[in-house]
Symmetry: C2
Subunit: 434 residues, 2 copies
């Protein structure tokens, strides 16, 4: 029997008989001459079929798994540039149920809940699968650039005896008669591992029991986490953020042009460096624009303020990206390092991408006594943190890090209108299947 040929390989087999395998993507019946479009993991190809060639497909639906043996012929107008002639079609797995929605149109004609209900087949759609393949590309680009920078990959436990931060918004798990909690982030673990490897990263799920239902939030997502030691301050971390984002974009540009083209996505570029603005200066800029009011005086930025700053970065610095630095300590987790010169402000940052928050990071406390004091100042019971704090007793260098939400990164990069479209099977307050 002939070895299988992928649809992307037809160009190397012109004039030969090949065997392709895949899904019946579409069947165009024109009378005497008909077209069978087959889809495999690399693309689609067209087979020219007589009425009798089609007999095996009688009564079957699209998505039937088939195999076609035929002769490869150049055909400029055909998808991919080749056609199969003198075909023998064989059914591997028949489909008899009508599909929940068509998978071979440019857009899926289903509302979002209906699409998500049937995502187990919906993801076969060419555009949908391109999005998910890019998710793999972002992870690969992330690991690749960090490997070059001497980072070590770790995998930390997702079941913990205590919450990472304040104890709010954690999922509880029955654990052999105790209560465990699902990790909201690998925060303490990645810090601990800075004491071992200096530079670590992790790609893994995090769990947030937040009761919100927005286009931007899901309750389980993939976090790309970075932490490293021997830094000067948060600017060392921001330089690493810039290197990592640049590395990911470069990886996509090199390996994922087909997917990006299919999605008509244009990758942003990053200049020499990403511009930055201190939160105090950002608020002055916002006051100049909106006048002084309560919202502008608040310690945090509203989404509208972020959009305004995004426009400012685009206009002033010709940049899709903007770091906002120095957020007030009250808005940051207790392990955040304060700015020694303005202790109410932090050595932390947000990275805005086109006016929306993409990444949060900063320098962390690194002295044991600072952790005790910071926990006490927020009235946290230090007992659940004791085993984690132990690493700070035994010598931790100045360190910091950041986290990128994979789905958020992809949503913003591709301009998707809902984060649920950037993940395989989203989890939210209303959805636990498929």
């Amino acid at each position: 029997m002939l070895q299988r040929t992928l649809t992307s390989e037809l160009g190397s087999h012109i004039g030969e008989r090949v065997r392709v395998q895949g899904w019946l993507h579409a069947l165009r019946k024109m009378g005497e001459v008909n077209f069978v479009i087959i889809r495999d993991r690399t693309g689609i190809a067209q087979a020219v079929a007589s009425v009798s060639d089609l007999a095996p497909l009688s009564g079957l639906q699209n998505e039937t798994v088939i195999e076609i043996e035929g002769l490869v012929v150049e055909a400029e107008a055909a998808p991919g540039g080749y056609e199969l002639y003198h075909n023998q079609i064989r059914v591997l797995t028949p489909v008899t149920d009508p599909l929940p929605f068509s998978l071979n149109k440019n857009r899926i004609r289903a509302n979002q809940p209906a699409f998500l209900d049937h995502a187990v087949v919906g993801h076969r759609h060419l555009q949908k699968r391109a999005i998910l393949r890019l998710a793999g590309g972002v992870m690969a680009g992330f690991r690749s650039i960090l490997g070059e920078q001497g980072f070590v990959e770790i995998q930390t436990p997702k079941l913990m005896a205590s919450a990472t931060e304040s104890g709010a918004n954690v999922f509880a798990v029955e654990y052999f008669g105790q209560t465990a909690y699902l990790a909201q982030s690998p925060q303490f673990y990645k810090q601990i591992m800075v004491g071992v490897f200096e530079r670590v990263f992790e790609v893994g799920p995090v769990f947030r029991a937040e009761k919100h239902s927005t286009r931007r939030h899901i309750n389980e997502y993939v976090s790309l986490d970075v932490e490293f030691g021997f830094i000067d301050d948060h600017f060392t971390v921001m330089a690493m953020v810039t290197t990592v984002i640049r590395g990911i974009l470069e990886h996509l540009r090199t390996h994922y042009m087909a997917e990006l083209a299919l999605l008509e996505a244009e990758l942003p570029t990053i200049g020499e460096s990403i511009p930055h603005i201190h939160i105090v200066d950002a608020q002055q800029l916002l006051r100049d624009r909106y006048g002084a009011n309560d919202a502008v005086g608040a310690p945090d930025l509203t989404p509208e303020h972020e959009r305004t700053l995004g426009e400012w970065a685009r206009g002033q610095h010709n940049s899709d990206y903007l770091f906002v630095t120095g957020y007030p300590m009250v808005k940051r987790p207790f392990y955040t390092h304060p700015d020694p010169e303005r202790p109410d402000y932090s050595r932390s940052f947000d990275l805005l991408f086109r006016g929306t928050e993409l990444i949060t990071g900063g320098q962390r406390l690194h002295r044991y006594e600072d952790y005790l004091a910071a926990a006490a100042a927020r009235r946290y019971d230090p007992a659940p943190f004791e085993t984690y704090f132990e690493c700070f007793k035994y010598g931790m260098p100045p360190h910091g890090g950041f986290a990128i939400g994979l789905e958020r990164f992809l949503t913003q990069l591709l301009g998707l209108d809902n984060i649920r479209l950037a993940t395989l099977f989203p989890r939210d307050m209303a959805r636990l299947t498929p």
Copy 2:
């Protein structure tokens, strides 16, 4: 200020003054001439210090974070081959508490529970960190070889509405007023995604609420999962297992020689292919050796039987690895594909490594009606599976796959005596911290 130099880079700076940063690994006081050993992420280096040079370290413990500025001199007898002279030592983060155990001896002098209690610092030990770095290497090698084979990386949800298999041994999670379960494996999801990408892999945590307390089991571990379509049978899967194991070992051999040398680990080799034996023939072989008895007649193999088969593979085939194929259907999950010629036996396999099970895999059912029948035969309620089974309605090719437990792989490869030593922070019935 001088840029930081890593201890591994000293050879490029002979005769220059450099600044190294790291942890006080050891201090050898000899009187007039003393040795300060500093450890960074790349290794250790020795600085020759007078009594007055040591003043900043007075009263401080090992693991104090320090910085040394000194002159690089070749010194054959010194660790790494270089020494620092005319040094200035500066303390970055002092350590005043005595360590729970010494980190600079060849072996850690603590029993295993004590080590695990203090793993947040214990992992800094050179041998311990080498093990964990190799875990990163196994993941990288796994991804690299699968990328070459056209596999796409996926990340699937860990919170599910139902158990993957029979519903036993799952952890329950309070999920917004419902009960969710932690995924025991990405089994259904990786099969579903074969319908999208044909070839997928995942690296992620899995959760098993099994009440056992052995050297070989932990309740949360990292699973390296593979699934792919358009296979002939389980032998196609076994060929891919062989390719993947070979790829991982090759990756370690290329990039992790230092860690392997430190651990005195010798990598196994794989010949042209891995030998295989059908379970029926394996049982005949065991009967020939032990005589007919109940244990040999049982559908599964005992650990002792596995060891015997491992010895047989070593003697007969000069192989550390052995596939045992065709396990009885009653011992395999309901989605396993039966052997059409002997329907009581399956198209599945275990891979034994030096006589211990390392990997399980096989061909899966791919027709919707077969799933319904298989679930019914085991008296499973099909309702919770419905959203997953949907993908089989819409055309799935013959497919199969396997899973490698990262920690088990590493434990066996390095000959560790407990799987808890092959992971950062193990989770078992008694341990949920650190």
